[in-house]
């Protein structure tokens, strides 16, 4: 039961309350760049959700076994070298390099795989994949997972990491599709000349962000509600 509540909270937090785009400002570039039409925006959202899940899976594995403090692999190496068992080898300094490496190569792998086995999917989503490599949202998800694997007393499991990734990807999709819907209408409007383009896009995003602030406290409320029900 506790696990279920935690997972719901993680998913809600990543998708709505602390929306990747509108609260943490990660993935701003595709959010503003690929939000001209609803269908392409949805394609981008799906591609990001997919890649973010794969990256989260890989980064959890790497972090858990190699990069976190007191991880199995470096500890084993230290033992084999006959080092003092009270200290450990800490490889966390490699985290960023490994994450970006993993993201770049998994994006390329996914691209090749999808092109071979799902040519129709590739036709519609393929163009977005290279854009995703430099998408902050993916790296951000890896970093969040890393943060939760620092404290040896409260390690995140794989299911929690994946929930965060899928929730974050869904939140990105919701935000970018909303934005695309608004911008399709905006194309019909008479926008003051200096604001055309970037300016009005950012202001729209600001208003969306304000709307999303309304979700603040929902996770707390759900926790309270479930506790009341259980009592």
């Amino acid at each position: 039961m506790d696990t279920a509540i935690t997972l719901i909270q993680i998913a809600l937090g990543a998708a709505l309350i602390n929306n990747f785009v509108l609260h943490y400002f990660v993935g701003i570039c595709p959010f503003l760049g690929v939000s001209r039409r609803v269908d392409t925006a949805f394609g981008m959202g799906c591609a990001v959700t997919f890649v973010i899940s794969i990256a989260a899976l890989l980064s959890w594995v790497f972090t858990y076994f190699i990069l976190r403090p007191a991880a199995p692999v470096p500890t084993w190496v230290w033992r084999v070298c006959g080092g003092d068992p009270r200290t450990t080898v800490d490889l966390s300094v490699l985290s960023y390099v490994m994450y970006i490496f993993v993201i770049a190569s998994s994006v390329q792998f996914v691209e090749l795989y999808v092109r071979k086995f799902f040519p129709y999917l590739y036709k519609s989503f393929g163009v977005f994949l290279p854009l995703i490599t430099t998408n902050c949202a993916i790296l951000f998800a890896c970093l969040e997972i890393m943060k939760r694997l620092q404290d040896p007393d409260r390690l995140w499991g794989l299911h929690e990491a994946l929930t965060l990734a899928v929730g974050g990807g869904l939140g990105f999709t919701i935000a970018i599709v909303l934005m695309a819907g608004i911008r399709e209408e905006l194309d019909m409007c008479d926008v003051p000349k200096p604001l055309v383009g970037a300016g009005i896009g950012l202001i729209t995003a600001g208003i969306l962000a304000m709307a999303f602030m309304g979700f603040t406290g929902v996770d707390k409320g759900i926790e309270n509600a479930i506790n009341l029900l259980l009592r």
């Binding site: 701003i28 570039c29 595709p30 503003l32 760049g33 190699i66 692999v73 470096p74 190496v77 230290w78 070298c81 080092g83 200290t87 080898v89 800490d90 490889l91 300094v93 490699l94 390099v97 490994m98 490496f101 190569s105 390329q108 792998f109 090749l112 795989y113 092109r115 071979k116 086995f117 040519p119 036709k123 430099t134 998408n135 902050c136 905006l186 194309d187 019909m188 409007c189 008479d190 926008v191 055309v196 383009g197 970037a198 009005i200 896009g201």
Partner: protein
Amino acid sequence: MLTTVTMITAAVVLALLAVATGYVLGWANRAFRVDVDPQVEAILDALPSANCGGCGFTGCSDYAEAVARGEAGVGLCAPGGAGCAKRLAEIMGVEVTERLPYRAVVHCAAHYPQRLQRTPYEGEPTCAAANLVAGVQGCTYGCLGFGDCVRACNYDAIGVVDGLATVDYRSCVGCKACARVCPRNIITMVPFKAERMLVVACSNQDMGPDVKAVCELGCIGCKGCSRRADRMEMDGNLPVIDYDRYGSAGDFQVALEKCPRASLVFVGKPSQEDLAAVADEHLPDEIRADFKTTVDDTEWRG
């Protein structure tokens, strides 16, 4: 000791990762190889990637594949024009079959003042919707003027002027998008053998009195033109110009003079005389609606 082991482990881990990634990607590149026909890629490169669908295929890549399979001609790309056709012919090693530039023609000439029996319509402002309602205007054949064709056009080449869809032939590329959406099917594609072409600017198939009751300009089916010009024939109550045998505008001079209505008109790019006639008129600064002023094409990067 700790420092050395940490450094060596770190370096080895990273290098192993690099080797493993290189190997996996190399393997994936071979295992997941998709044999893309080099011809298709070359054709795709030569196409303008407008994805307008004017060729009748869904998007440029579909058309490229069809050309490579030999199922489609090389000259179907309207936006690409003759240059594109020539490049495709070179790639495929075939002769370019000559293809005239087809342009959209609206077979209606009546603006609001000339259309009779109009009633106010306050439903959804699209032609498709208005076409389902009886009595929006007397003529059940002519242009409705709600601009479905304008929205379909990717090239800013058609606009509604005083209730009548009007093609701007300086921008039209002949992609047929407008003809496909017109619910009354009054837009057709005409091969432009000259800069300006004679067209029948009416679609009303009714008898003379009925036409007169609903329009001040429409064709009354008097057959005057088809009797005088051998390149025109009657199809029901409307004359049809045989564009296969269309030589020059002079062939139709007599017919044009005899037309009692205003159903035979020239359309096309403005001629020198037209420009000279309006040269001394003062035009307002803004003469054309710019349909896409608020479309932003800013590029965003990380």
